[in-house]
Subunit: 327 residues, 4 copies
């Protein structure tokens, strides 16, 4: 039995806790949170126990799940690596590229497995598309087009601490770009605007973006994002290859269609990421448990975390300076 | 805490056990099965304990979930009702109409809640359609068309004991007919053929059916079924009303589409009922737990079980005699 | 150059006239109509000339297109056959089976080609489905399910003279049944109701039907129809075979979809038969021109017209008498 | 009756000729082509007469349709404007921006109507989307995403004279950008690669592009194109606004779907522009005829032609220089 401590009992911590609690060969030994009551409540719900941070990183656990606030990630990764614990860390590794690289180096030195929470790679639809791409169904990828829209923006307060839209929101899309185009970014051009809420502009951020990435092999990626999609959480992508196209559509709550005067309608997409990626979060923790049991290598590594951050930095600079930038 | 015994630890018993084990206010106290090892294995997996039938119907449980073989249902319902326990029973109540009526009468006399396992009513898609119908989105229902096809036939040995295709397979569709047309069957006409496997005909059964039901108010229902759909488990229905149509489509494993020379393709439906109705089975046990806690009245009653069986008997007779029959 | 006379310059006559006027090797020599002004107007529009009936059946034409009112079809077929002219006749051949058979016999004796206007067989979607069925894509057909709904009922006055819903509306579906199941009807059971307008019932007719046909080989066909579909003209069908299913969906005016709060919507089907079957009518006249030039044999013969009428008579009797009927 | 001369009897000239020949109030008086036999053949097919260029621009016609090769457009526009004839001209006006502006100035001085052949604006799907956008269905447009892929590249010989992919292929997309975002381009960034055929690179051109346009109001447009889509001609676009999204999908030859083991499939898109835009070409000439009769103002003007060319020049420069460019 491998004992694991969960650090962070907020929204995403609850999901990871519930998913991890069901894995064979793994025991969710401790739950810890800056807010003690939150830790206790979650511990109760998943049959675990609350503890403080020292114990969570202590001798009686072999692995940690880091689901606390972004500004604590790097410190916790460094400490966990120093203690030679296996690590699962929510994205992003850190908002500062240098700091993220420091974490990656520490993980490498420690030789511990570290899975980064790019959950989209575990989504049944995206994962099936990637397997079919990998199987050669359409040949080598040439063009990737990603549509990524949130139903609504988070509070401006959150945005101010978020690192900006490219690090906060498109970090996932940059990871998908590397994963699906099987190549590294050579040039990034990012256009962006503030079209939904002037207070986002006042906070120095943008709500609507259009990013182009050209890879070393000349493959092309286009990403368009918005903080506002009136119809729900829009998460689609398409990969074109010599042999055709593989496309990933949205998931819907039900398969009811209404045939009424003037229109045939079906459900809008799942409302937001907790619903859309429910299965992805479960598969992600299933994967982490397999890594813990020595049955799998991390599929989303801390290096992936660093690379996506490099593109996000390049995109931010491209947007600010109005020019194409090499990451 | 309400203590429940689960009787039957086979395929469907495992599903009910896992779903019931998570419900607040309810404890899965015992698991019992004719095969002791099966009971023990399931009990372990869901944190319960194995027992024999006497204990399962004994004083320390307030409710039973009957998931054993069909020929035991009636006896167990009668005993549970006599012990004044709340009952969940898998469909069908019994293959013999008189015996099913006897059970319904016993349940009524005992005054215990009894939920019958017509899980399709709990399917997110069918349930959403029914709520929208109920809300008047298309007016009163006029026509119901049901397509219901299995990926492949069960062994002929099973078919011989199944009561025939109308009681074994269409019983669900007959329940949907009553539920969605909000009316009772007045006339049933059933045509059927054996087109997929001659051994089914030798067993006195059919594999392909086309049933028409006219209700008392003149509403029309058409059901077509097959024991073989090469593309998977096909479970669709459409309701036409004065204001339009509500349709329920199949569920798919992923939302990937492949755009290749000659065709655009997407996933076939979920392969069979365990996948297609996974969410329905969970919602069904959620409902039973709510009934146990006194928060809900049974949505699928033992009377519903009897009525569906009446239509199945009429359909069987209609098919055998080549004429329209009143249930 | 083959000279053709068009008899009937109403709604369907205009369509046939415009489509025939463009065919190579064929000249639309005359247009005639009980209303002289209608004939003249259409003749002008298609570059033809108006004439009376004697001339339309006279020595200077080799073929006639009969698009006049139903009660004139049989008389015109008999006269045209007697004059050894090639014939295109709108469906139905006649409302009386005996009279339709008389026409078929006359056509056979005369040895002239006669194409009957079952335009659905020429619809690009239905025709493509039939070609793929014919190519063995799903094996032998086992089940055919047809949905056929008009946007609204014609005037009751028309219904009174229509021969009833089975001869007027389902005649097309009965033809599709024979065409797609590649077999003749052995038993017909028709249920029907009047649910949309009591005046239809007063006229002795029904507006909503559910028909089952079992063929000699045991293949099953289900047809459900309504005189009212609030969302437009609904014309779909599905064929199940051992290897899978081929389905034909509705055509839409545009491929716009709207993604709005609460629903994703697309266009309803084409509003009615003139729009839905525009391409079918064009292909039908293309075929008739090919028949006239000796390049093709009639794909929809007068015998097809008689057979569909036989099923319509059986369905009418089945509905009236509440029992299954052999055609 | 307004007499029109058609200049150019090639592939697109044939389409315009056939469509124009049917318009009320308009007569296709002459057809002229550098290849006399081509002019004569087309003239015969549409009931017109062949002539030389002098006559086509002579006193007895009031309008010209310019469908000859691109290098002749400007000269013909200038001559037709000098003769005060109404003009329809295929896109592009000219490959050189200065020359195109000269044409626009001449048309303005002459005060003649001039319709430029951006046929996509007349496509039923795109036009319906634009009308709904115009009606405010989703509020002001914020993001436009265009996918535009040809089934295969034209011969390299053609590409060498084409002005490059941005002027030859994306000129349509740049026009859609201005039309649907209701704003002018402020910045253009174009990435491009040669991924399908090295001979295209040798010709100094690209086959795969990813273009971002930011408009003056900060609206964002993304265009991705390829000279090769194995599955057919892919022409889709999406407009996001505050209230939701309007999307335009591909058209399909039929609505047949095949439900087979492993996949549900439907038709690929119409194979290429002649099929996809058949209705658009017809609507375009309908519009030109209405302009000729004084019933409409040109919807696609020569200024639209100049503006799209400005963006194409900016995109070409952006690609060559690897930087964002203001048109």
């Amino acid at each position: 039995m491998i004992d694991v401590a969960l650090i962070g009992a907020g929204r995403i911590g609850k999901i990871h806790g519930a998913n991890l609690a069901r894995q064979p060969g793994v025991r969710l030994r401790w739950v810890c949170d800056a807010v003690g009551a939150a830790a206790e409540e979650l511990a109760r719900a998943v049959g675990s126990a609350a503890c403080d941070l020292e114990r969570a990183l202590g001798a009686d656990v072999q692995a940690v799940v880091i689901a606390s606030s972004t500004d604590t990630h790097a410190e916790l990764i460094l400490r966990a690596a120093a203690e030679r614990k296996a690590i699962f860390c929510e994205k992003p590794v850190d908002l500062a590229l240098a700091r993220a690289r420091e974490c990656a180096a520490a993980v490498a030195r420690a030789g511990v497995p570290c899975v980064v929470g790019f959950q989209r790679r575990y989504d049944p639809t995206f994962a099936a598309l990637e397997r079919r791409l990998d199987a050669g169904e359409i040949g080598a990828p040439e063009v990737l087009a990603i549509t990524s829209r949130d139903p609504g923006a988070p509070p401006v307060d959150y945005l101010r601490r978020s690192g900006g839209v490219f690090k906060d929101m498109l970090i996932h899309d940059f990871d998908l770009c590397r994963w699906l185009l099987r190549d590294e970014a050579a040039v990034v051009f990012a256009a962006a605007s503030c079209l939904t809420d002037p207070s986002i502009e006042e906070a120095g951020d943008a709500d609507t973006t259009a990013v182009t990435i050209r890879t070393r092999k000349g493959r092309l990626c286009q990403i368009n994002t918005s903080r506002r999609a009136a119809y729900g959480y829009d998460q689609r992508l398409e990969v074109l290859g010599a042999g055709g196209m593989l496309a990933a559509g949205n998931h819907r709550p039900t398969e009811v269609s209404a045939h009424l005067p003037g229109a045939i309608s079906s459900d809008p997409p799942e409302p937001f990421f907790l619903e859309r990626y429910r299965a992805a979060y479960a598969a992600e923790m299933l994967h982490f448990a397999a890594v813990l049991r020595g049955e799998a290598q991390p599929r989303t590594t801390i290096d992936d975390g660093v690379r996506a951050l490099e593109i996000a930095e390049a995109a931010t600079r491209s947007w600010r300076e109005g020019r194409a930038v090499a990451p």
